[in-house]
Assembly symmetry: C2
Homo-oligomer: 319 residues x 2
């Protein structure tokens, strides 16, 4: 990629966009509330005008931008550049590539949010120089973006990387997907909160509590675990064990050199990463786990827009 | 690929080789006992001379062959064309590419046996036209070869596809890898035999028995299951459930359009495939499992040599 690229990360509440150079470095960025009221086409035209405003503010001539990449939270027909459904935005059946290519006069590529975050971390974040890596986002749910031999793995219908729904516990809690015991019922922020609330409700001896005036948060749970609260430690260990189990399976299947862990839960730092490293190496065949690194994500909220910009290089940036 | 290619599948007892055309069709094949006595280099030179003999017998001028692919059972440095270790042959640290390129005067590419079998089935077997597929071999162990977006997935150190070692049962039987409850302790030929022998030893009511004069075989177990022997049915169901569990995880991670099942156990036909389809769809998120096919391998023992020949096309054959 010789020119700059524009990355647009469309979320449920905010649109983040940025212009990056050929090495994935941000030259300018902007945030804008996701247009909610109008239809998808009107919203996309508003986003396009913000993109042009960003280029102007960053003093980047439009002709220096080679293409546009867009990260989207939902079901996509990636080859066709088509939104099938974005549940959070109620956008259904939207020819996003056609709309944005007309509005911006640049080639447009789309992909899902977990994939662009993985691509961003691989291009200029925690995974620079690594061709086989898996990016796991521990947030409200658990998302996965997989890069094998320098390219995003999409699968046959774009569903690759749905690692939050790998079953880890028989007869476990009900998941949003309608099944029981999925990874994200335990290792997401929601999962950790649920486990702790259940322990409190059972009357277990902990310094934590949960009421309306002083609600429980994942930060408080990890902080209590760090302070050796045994109930909080047990909750963290459950999340760590479930995650390590899935990572050991991913090692046996994809054999990545690196796991990048992002999302809100990853901010717990060593309280998460130390037991996770130990559990991963305990659970994984040593000749597969040897040398595998587990690192926190580096780009935070910018991973998505940087990776989206990286889509324009058509898979060449990591080869 | 415009020219023909030579594929060599080196196994513990037999070397199978064949010359295929640009569409993966066999033009000639030969089998030769794996040279055991001498060192690896002498063995490879013997294999090279058999390859030349094959071309002569098949009336194919050597200049019409574009390259050579080799499938090998063990640990390889694929980019370097180097054998790290083949445990069954006691070949260690062998520069196989260098040796064969000198002997054959053609470019040589190597890969492991599970991968070349998957490539063979994808190129001209059960997976023709499919870009995302997983080939599972149920033999003495359980092997996996993964093709994503038309290319073999190797992972960072060539260990991708080691699906036989995905844990499926807590505190399960000891596996050859030193761990417990791996898929291959249950769903391989060895695993099915073990489960049946244990049931017989417990005195369960079955038409099957196991003694030196009339030893148990997997064929007998599947045949008894087909005849509704309840103990044999239970053993088959255990193998099917373990395999379906791993296939559901593979669907959530790689999202293949097709699973190709090969190896000795797959010869059980509908006694295996009917409960496997049912268990897979019962266990897998419907929006991921929708439309996914499970088919028996078509190329049998030729999958490896055909896929090995396909290596010479450098990943272009399925794009």
């Amino acid at each position: 990629m010789n020119k700059h690229a524009l990355g647009i990360d469309i979320g449920g509440t905010q649109v983040k966009m940025g212009i990056v150079d050929a090495r994935g470095q941000l030259l300018g960025r902007i945030e804008h509330p996701t247009p909610q009221k109008e239809g998808a086409e009107a919203a996309l035209l508003e986003i396009a005008s913000v993109a042009k405003q960003l280029a102007t503010e960053a003093n980047i001539p439009w002709k220096d931008i080679a293409g546009v990449g867009v990260g989207l939270p939902g079901f996509l027909d990636i080859p066709q550049g088509h939104i099938v459904q974005l549940p959070n935005l109620s956008w259904n059946d939207v020819p996003i590539r056609k709309i944005l290519e007309k509005a911006l006069a640049l080639p447009v590529t789309i992909d899902n949010d977990a994939n662009v975050a993985a691509l961003g971390e691989a291009w200029s974040g925690a995974g620079v120089g690594v061709k086989d890596l898996i990016c796991i986002t521990l947030g409200t749910g658990v998302g996965g973006g997989i890069i094998a031999n320098g390219g995003l793995v999409h699968g046959s219908t774009g569903m690759a990387g749905e690692i939050g729904h790998i079953p880890v516990k028989q007869d476990g809690a009900l998941c949003g997907c309608g099944r029981h015991g999925c990874l994200e019922t335990i290792a997401s922020a929601t999962g950790v909160m649920r486990l702790m609330q259940e322990a409190i409700a059972r009357g277990e001896q902990t310094i934590l509590h949960h009421d309306e005036s002083d609600p429980l948060t994942t930060e408080k749970i990890f902080s209590a675990a760090k302070d050796k609260d045994p109930v909080a430690q047990e909750v963290v260990q459950q999340a760590v064990d479930a995650l390590a189990y899935v990572m050991s399976i991913l090692s046996l299947t994809f054999n990545p050199a690196l796991f990048v862990i992002g999302g809100g839960v990853s901010k717990a730092g060593s309280t998460l990463f130390e037991p996770l490293e130990a559990a991963y190496h305990r659970r994984t065949l040593s000749y597969v786990a040897k040398g595998v690194l587990i690192r926190p994500a580096l780009l935070g909220n910018d991973a998505g827009l940087i990776g989206a910009a990286g889509l324009t290089a058509k898979g060449e940036i990591l080869r």
